[in-house]
């Protein structure tokens, strides 16, 4: 557990030393979601209708931006090999890196989402559900993304390939995440969608670090 906390602290520290990377992903999120009203038109009823979907798609894309950095630098300078050689289980260290990625790329999105939601004229209750869904869903994005990031380590055209691999796997999270808000708007209980998101999170927590570890071992073989 100490090793886990250490990896999280180290990655956070590294991210803080390079604030521009983190901030640019955040601004990407804001800009992409602000583009939609400009492209579609500022009709309030329409905007309210597309808001959850737009915010979720923007969140998907902006977490993708940070994925490549998850292992690339450590792979290049050999840190990843040292991690694989260390007596601590690699899955635990990988889990730490995933947690750090979520803290840097996922959590700020959750905090920013209500602001974007206000731009789209969402009501208070809808904003609450949106935040809750993002809170449950963004860790799933980091978990699934880590598998793709590890598979494309040091591969030609890694960035585009990564999106090709990861985006189809993101679809269930997108559906349940935006579905939670839509269900509430339609007067249904959002609980079912949130429970399914929670189930995805549990599944991801169990399988993803394991699959990522296997992929890393293949990459540094």
């Amino acid at each position: 557990m100490k090793a886990f906390a250490f990896v999280v602290r180290r990655d956070l520290l590294l991210a803080m030393r390079r604030k521009s990377d983190v901030l640019s992903a955040l601004f990407f999120f804001v800009i992409v979601s602000s583009l939609f009203p400009l492209g579609i038109g500022a009709e309030t009823a329409l905007l309210r209708k597309i808001a959850p979907g737009v915010i979720w798609v923007a969140a998907l894309l902006s977490t993708m931006l940070g994925l490549q950095r998850m292992f690339a630098a450590d792979h290049a300078d050999g840190t990843l090999e040292q991690m694989a050689l260390s007596p601590e289980p690699l899955a635990l260290l990988v889990g730490g890196k995933i947690a750090a990625h979520w803290l840097v790329c996922g959590l700020p999105l959750v905090a920013l989402a209500p602001l974007i939601g206000l731009q789209f004229d969402l009501s208070g209750a809808e904003l609450g559900i949106l935040v809750l869904a993002l809170l449950l869903g963004t860790p799933v994005l980091s978990l699934i993304g880590s598998v793709g990031a590890a598979l494309t380590l040091g591969v030609r055209g890694g960035g585009v390939l990564l999106s090709l691999l990861v985006l189809p796997l993101y679809i269930p999270t997108l559906i349940f995440g935006s579905g939670a808000v839509y269900a509430h708007t339609a007067g249904q209980d959002a609980g079912a969608h949130l429970s399914l998101l929670g189930a995805l999170l549990v599944l991801g927590l169990f399988f993803a670090p394991w699959a990522t570890t296997a992929a890393i071992r293949i990459a540094i073989e």
Binding site: V147, L165, P168, L169
Partner: protein
């Protein structure tokens, strides 16, 4: 048991599988042609015209087998890839690699014929129906698998990375299918129902099954042919490849 007639693991080696595959391919082509001809004859000349859909429904004789095969091939591909990962057998991974393009072709065919069928029946080329959408995502998964294998230069690393992706994908396929299904019911109250189709005439069902067998045999024949090409490419340094008749010629 030690004196069993055939030593199966013998064919796990590319050197002994290559000639075996070569001998099997004509048979599978023959079966594919036989099933295909009888299936087509049944579906075009024997099966009655549908009361509601007219003759346009006949495209299902290609559409349904293609959809079945696209899903089935993904499972088979993931199974071969998993075997290759666990037992470290090169041939299993080559089989997975050989199956992927055929699977992608089937997914594409299923979407293509589906939209041809949808235009006269539903009045639109595409609706966001659960089956259509999950078939589209399946095509994306195939494309991802092929792209990942193509972009890694070391073939053994490509095999293993592809295997992990295929396994992760096969865990996700049911999740994606159900999520799309629920999404569909939430967003669209009344889409056209495919499941409540009227009971089919026996000849229609028989024609469809024959066509499915034809597609199956075709997939095997093509995959074997492709795996032979992959073996030649990867084992080109080996002595036995250089002594092959077709290589010497």
């Amino acid at each position: 048991m030690s004196n069993s007639i055939i030593h199966w693991f013998k064919f796990a080696s590319p050197a002994s599988f290559y000639p075996l595959a070569g001998r099997m391919i004509p048979w599978f082509w023959l079966l594919a042609a036989a099933f295909g001809l009888s299936g087509l004859w049944l579906s075009f000349f024997v099966a009655p015209t549908d009361a509601v859909q007219g003759d346009g429904y006949r495209i299902i004789f290609v559409h349904v087998p293609a959809s079945w095969m696209s899903m089935f091939i993904y499972l088979v591909m993931a199974a071969w890839a998993g075997l290759g990962l666990v037992f470290n057998t090169r041939l299993s991974s080559m089989m997975a690699q050989a199956l992927a393009p055929t699977g992608a072709l089937m997914a594409f065919l299923s979407l293509w014929t589906g939209s041809f069928w949808g235009k006269p029946m539903w009045g639109t080329w595409w609706i966001w129906d659960a089956r259509l959408t999950s078939e589209l995502i399946l095509l994306f998964l195939y494309v991802g698998f092929i792209a990942l294998q193509a972009s890694i230069d070391d073939p053994r690393r490509a095999d293993k990375a592809g295997a992990i992706l295929a396994l992760v994908g096969s865990v996700n396929v049911p999740i994606i299918y159900f999520s799309v299904k629920w999404w569909n019911t939430l967003h669209q109250g009344s889409t056209v129902s495919l499941t409540k189709a009227p009971a089919m005439a026996h000849t229609m069902l028989l024609g469809m099954l024959l066509m499915a067998l034809c597609f199956w045999m075709y997939a095997i024949a093509v995959a074997l042919q492709r795996v032979r090409a992959i073996i030649l490419e990867r084992e080109s340094h080996a002595e036995w490849v250089r002594e092959l008749k077709e290589v010497l010629a």
